[in-house]
């Protein structure tokens, strides 16, 4: 009777598309909003991921997330280097500095200072120039989106587009001259400020004079030593916080989850998608069943048992569920593809697919349950009532 169930469903095009619209909308809203949420949240720890190479991040014990900078004394670097199990430890500067643009306006930038010798913690991908060019006088590397947008030079003629910052261009960082020696690609940050890489020494020169300027210490554990064990030793020896890369990402993620309204706002959107999907799909599916109640009653009269009817309705729910979910996820993916090169955040993970799949399964199950109740209650004798 499977094909009868399928034909009953798809043959009634208006209702079939009505149910699909509800489920597609629910699937789209859940998938798209969750992807934007994850994309946005991933930006919170994007810099940690970009830095990539070191096993361990060392910082002040009060630091709550990546942008919560509580500078350390430079001497802490030497203390960390002395901890057993540490292969190497390098300084990293991270701070917000104002850049003066060619048009005289100021733009706050995320300035990253890398160890002068090793340049550990550099950008994940160079688009133009080389990382070692940072050793050139006043050299800085600018991220491509920043160079194209917020740091771009004024248009040559009125009405034309701004001119992207390019290698050889200069800008002023806190009254210090900086020369662009490379363009890189980085993960967008939460605040979407331009990212500027330079050497640690130069960064501390750009930065306003402070007693402590060391933001983080990047540490690599010796081969064969567990990073978690090295973290424990660093904490015990120096009193500083030491996190593995994943732990530091989690710390940042949890901070944003706990202290910002982002999860609640997106949660509301996802819940709304679920509720609207349930209402539209459930109602349409139930209407479809009610419209076909005479046919179901006829099938009952002709000997179709409850289990058979249950299977038919489940097959119908499965079909609309799969197609609706697929369409919703497909449209959400297209949306993600379409905004790939924009500033909008979007990260579609397999976990989101599972969540939206489970949500659609729940919607379909509720709809099927409602319909099943109607069908099982249908009196087969109604087929004799004209």
């Amino acid at each position: 009777m499977r094909f009868v169930a399928v034909r009953m469903l798809v043959g009634d095009r208006a209702r079939y598309f009505g149910i699909l619209v509800g489920l597609t909308f629910a699937s789209l809203l859940i998938t798209q909003q969750a992807s934007i949420f994850i994309g946005l949240m991933a930006r919170s720890y994007g810099f940690i991921e970009d830095t990539g190479y070191p096993d361990i991040w060392v910082m002040d014990e009060k630091v709550q997330f990546i942008d919560d900078i509580k500078p350390l004394q430079d001497t802490q670097l030497l203390r960390v280097r002395g901890v057993e199990g540490v292969d190497w430890a390098m300084p990293l500067y991270k701070g917000l500095l104002k850049a003066k643009l060619a048009n005289g306006q100021f733009q706050t930038c995320n300035v990253i200072g890398l160890d002068d010798t090793t340049l550990v913690g550099g950008p994940p991908k160079m688009l133009q120039g080389r990382l070692v060019d940072l050793r050139n006088a006043d050299g800085v590397i600018v991220d491509a989106v920043g160079a194209r947008t917020k740091l771009a030079k004024p248009p040559r003629n009125p009405g034309e587009r701004s001119v992207p910052l390019a290698i050889g261009d200069t800008l002023e960082l806190n009254d210090h001259r900086a020369v662009v020696v490379g363009i890189c690609e980085v993960t967008r940050t939460f605040q979407s400020q331009p990212v500027i890489y330079t050497t640690y020494t130069r960064a501390t020169q750009f930065a306003p004079a402070e007693r402590k300027l060391l933001s983080f210490i990047l540490v690599e554990a010796k081969p064969g030593v567990e990073p978690a064990e090295v973290c424990r030793r660093i904490r015990a020896t120096t009193g500083l916080a030491a996190w593995t890369q994943q732990e530091f990402q989690d710390l940042t993620w949890n901070y944003f989850m706990k202290y910002t309204g982002i999860p609640v706002n997106f949660g509301i959107a996802v819940a709304l998608g679920f509720l609207v999907g349930t209402a539209i799909a459930g109602q349409t599916f139930h209407n479809f069943t009610v419209d076909n109640i005479k046919h179901f009653a006829a099938l009952k009269a002709m000997g179709a048992g409850n289990i058979m009817l249950l299977r038919m309705i489940l097959i119908q729910a499965l079909i609309v569920g799969l197609v609706g979910w697929g369409l919703g996820v497909g449209v959400a993916s297209l949306f993600g593809f379409w905004i790939k090169n924009t500033e909008l955040a979007f990260k579609l993970t397999w976990q989101i697919l599972v969540v939206s799949g489970v949500a659609i399964t729940i919607i379909c199950s509720l709809s099927a349950l409602l319909s099943l109740r109607t069908v099982l209650r249908a009196e087969p004798a109604i087929v004799f009532k004209g």
């Binding site: 009777m1 094909f3 009868v4 034909r7 009953m8 798809v10 043959g11 009634d12 005479k294 046919h295 006829a298 099938l299 009952k300 009269a301 002709m302 000997g303 179709a304 048992g305 409850n306 058979m308 009196e379 087969p380 004798a381 087929v383 004799f384 009532k385 004209g386």
Partner: protein, 237 residues
């Protein structure tokens, strides 16, 4: 009354709908025996209990009191699942509104009782086509019901009622929506393909034009069988 040889044997059957002031008694102690191999017509005015009686006889409605045996078996005493399965195997239905599934072809509609009884789709549809040949619309097997005339739809419904070779066929007002000539052709067909030594046909109707096709006619009024006549004619009130 030899209930073992009878297709249907009802004794003192009562059925009441609702309760309190809205209580309606549809059957008031019906005694009726339908012989195996005959075409019995159940006639009477609207609301006299014809539909309720065939619903009880076909095992799709429980009566309140009395006994109703179908081929010697008390369907009311059976568990629901067994009764449904038995109905699927031994009874064929022709509904007044045909109740063909609008999205299935004629052959697929005819195949439904076979599918319900567990036959594979291809074999069931092939047998559905063969059955459509028997009711002379084999060439329309691919058409969906909306492309068929009322008479053709009725033939599809008849083919569906017979395709699984049931011992009892129950027809509800089979000619009510057909013109005189088509109605006669349909009844000719029913006599030809649906009645035989191993098959009993019960037709509910108030279409006097087809009384001539009956072996016996049972007239109902106010929830009772008031007259049973042998032969092909019954006087109209």
């Amino acid at each position: 009354m030899d209930s073992a040889a009878a297709a249907i044997s009802c004794t003192g059957v009562t059925k009441t709908y609702g309760s309190g002031q809205s209580r309606v008694t549809a059957l008031r102690g019906v005694d009726l025996e339908v012989r195996a191999g005959e075409l019995l017509m159940l006639v009477g005015p609207s609301g006299c209990g014809k539909t309720t009686l065939i619903s009880v006889a076909a095992g799709i409605l429980d009566h309140d009191e009395g006994e109703c045996l179908v081929f010697g078996q008390d369907l009311k005493a059976m568990p629901q699942s067994r009764r449904t399965a038995l109905r699927g195997r031994t009874i064929g239905f022709v509904f007044q509104a045909f109740n063909l599934l609008p999205t299935l072809t004629a052959a697929e509609n005819v195949a439904i009782p076979l599918l319900i009884n567990g036959m594979g789709r291809r074999e069931a549809v092939d047998r559905g086509r063969a059955m459509l040949d028997r009711v002379s619309i084999g060439d329309r097997w691919r058409d969906i019901p909306s492309r068929l005339s009322g008479g053709q739809q009725q033939r599809v419904a008849i083919a569906r009622a017979l395709v699984h070779d049931p011992k009892l066929v129950v027809c509800d007002e089979p000619t009510s929506s057909l013109d005189h000539e088509t109605g006669h052709r349909v009844m000719d067909l029913m006599r030809e393909v649906a009645v035989g030594p191993d098959r009993t046909l019960v037709v509910v109707t108030h279409d006097a034009r087809i009384f001539e096709f009956a072996d016996r006619i049972a007239r109902m009024d106010d929830g009772r069988i008031v007259e049973i006549r042998e032969g092909t004619r019954i006087e109209q009130d």
